[in-house]
Symmetry: C2
Subunit: 471 residues, 2 copies
Amino acid sequence: MGAGAAVDLKVELEDLLGPGGVLSDPADTEAYATGWRYGKGRALLVARPASTAEVAAVMARCAARGVRVLAQGANTGLVGASVPDGGGGMVVLGTERLDRRLEVDPTDRAAVAGAGVRLSALNAALAPHGLHFPVDLGADPCVGGMVATNTGGTRLLRHGDVRRNLLGVEVVLADGTVVEALSPLRKNNAGLDWKQLFTGTTGLFGIVTAAALQVSPLPRQVAAALVAVRDGEAALALLRAMETGLGETLSAFEAVSAGALTPVLRHLPNPFGGPGDVPPYAVLVEAASSLPREALDLEDALQGAVGAHLEEGGDGILDARFGRAEAFWALRHRVSECLREEGRVLAFDIAVPRSSLAAFTEAARELVAGRWPWMSVRDFGHWGDGGTHLNLVWREEEAPGPGEDWIPAVQAAVYALAVEGFRGSYSAEHGVGPHNQRFFDLFTPAPVKAAGAALRAHFDPAGLLGTARLW
Amino acid sequence: MGAGAAVDLKVELEDLLGPGGVLSDPADTEAYATGWRYGKGRALLVARPASTAEVAAVMARCAARGVRVLAQGANTGLVGASVPDGGGGMVVLGTERLDRRLEVDPTDRAAVAGAGVRLSALNAALAPHGLHFPVDLGADPCVGGMVATNTGGTRLLRHGDVRRNLLGVEVVLADGTVVEALSPLRKNNAGLDWKQLFTGTTGLFGIVTAAALQVSPLPRQVAAALVAVRDGEAALALLRAMETGLGETLSAFEAVSAGALTPVLRHLPNPFGGPGDVPPYAVLVEAASSLPREALDLEDALQGAVGAHLEEGGDGILDARFGRAEAFWALRHRVSECLREEGRVLAFDIAVPRSSLAAFTEAARELVAGRWPWMSVRDFGHWGDGGTHLNLVWREEEAPGPGEDWIPAVQAAVYALAVEGFRGSYSAEHGVGPHNQRFFDLFTPAPVKAAGAALRAHFDPAGLLGTARLW
């Protein structure tokens, strides 16, 4: 696009969106072009529509000029899909002003929220009704981005991902067509489930402008244990026992390996004793219930379930501490940050069938020790739902040379082990973006790519939306 | 297809499938061509493959000859989508011999089942592990049919539909291509969720040959109440109170109107007293838990939750009985059968947002009373998830003339009221088939039809699969 045409588009969008609706000064647009962890691009300009009609008008204007568009929510994604490419020709469509629509209906037990509503704002609006949106994350994303990336989180075991809690969407297609399907229906078994096409597909088939979300009663009580286990198989035995013993109240099951826990224990006290007492795995078991304590003593139930497992010969258990969930979560949430103090970190977002978690992790350890011995596996993750963040950590001075040119080979080998060796996923919860595009290319079955191509050709034949590829 | 070509295909498929693999005698094929409630067609022949490879080979043979194919599971569908059309040119691909694959893994808390495995057989295999597949139905469908129709059921409020419990599928496409995606991953956020394209889409994009299903711990205890309420709004107030009071243990919330309950009470004792004591709505509240009774007394919890609602001024409650869930379900499950003793029945499968259930039902009563006064609304349904089976009942002798030519107008008006008046669905849980095709045509937004057409053109350009249309 020539400079003149870019100016024309800017004037057109300024007319449309009014003051504050368009940003074009690089000082203002840079933040929109820089990813939270990965991705650094350049925006032609940033359009900030404040209504669905404005989104549609922006899309129609850009489509008429053949200008590519990148929809962006809170820009907290981890695969580089929320920033424009480096060409400087893309309009960033920031959804942050689509935050005025936020309706809660306790009888529907549902909320309708604009794409720009933050998760924290959604939960603040739900709390007075005794409700919350149970997709629980470290970041504070926007509703539109959560749908487009199908966010997972630490309570997926209990509540599922965004997809499972999504009742409806409103989308704007690449040509500016608005499709409103926001009725909060739990049952609507009328053929193709339209909203699935826009869930987890990175905004490539349309821009989510609002969502109808099923919400859940807030817990009235939470109980937690930190259980030290001998190895991964003992962690899986504990998982089976907790699902049997705690049933519908089990809300999280997170395993942290010794390699991941040790750096945290330089900052926080060790619940298991002295600094040397770091078990091979520490498992955070959390139960949550909306029942009052008169009906159910959840702490008792948790202690009973762990005790029953021990009595039944759960002999991989080394120790178990019961206490405030917040204290145990504090250990868990510090892992990523503390690992970075240990050296360089290469992060993976992997899922395998739960029954393979221990075997996969062991195989990954062997693989890394054999080929890249300067790296160590420091894994932790959502074992209850098969997810593991397999971090590889190394000290720069121990690595061969400064180039780090071995990294692509490590990534390819570890992901191949997960996907081909253990029928797993190279993207458990982060979605697909430029940062992991090559793994999509490598591991996606041809018929799935072909379906993606057919949908792209249908929804966006000119290829205006997004920077990732699902084909 | 000429008679000679049909014979050639028969010989070819007999070679492929062996003895018992092909049925062509009308005495044998008639049952495959007759729907459980709707639909009566004629099959060219019935092919009964016993493996995925055989399904693929049948499809390849039929595709080569341009012969249309209708995949059929247990043939328990309610929209006529599981029987061939009347032309006599379609091959019925019966999946009943795809029943040998049935693997349960308690650590994965998942099962992989062939398309021909019955729900009852699946649950029988799960029970020794303390597990079940929680999609609960009156019929005993096959796994493949459950995926293709996205079955709902009476515990959807707690456990969701098949879609929500589906981890993977294996499908055979129209050209015979097999796509196996059966890894039991809970997290696989890698773009387009392939399995969604085959869930609830009536076998029009491919034939489901196996599924990986998330399963749940069996309840250890169930508590139930039958609550008499003054009107629909009081039922909704009770729903809110039960979701707050029972939280994650609430497993069903079914409302039965006086008009639907009265005929049942000619056969079964009235829990509320004498035969005249029929409340405007009787609500079955069920709670279920996998926690042991030492940790949670669910009957106490249920009585406490109902009691708390009364104390908080839930003054629409007329009476409440606590007792065995089976006894209350017996009343609920007899409704359809007993209604038929009252006269002719026109059934509807409707969902609206939960907050509109009372208003919609009242509006439907007024509509019917005004225009078709010989019919009465006898509604019951899954109010916890917004579903209502709005049965209209009439005595033939009171209706104007024997032709019943007013029925299409009643259907169109009631469904329009649900969809256009209350943002509801004309197919809450039965799916789409020839029986309700015209309502799909009427009420589906154009962009949704266009996406269906694009997918059909991609997966099955010759239009060989199925009898319904999702475009």
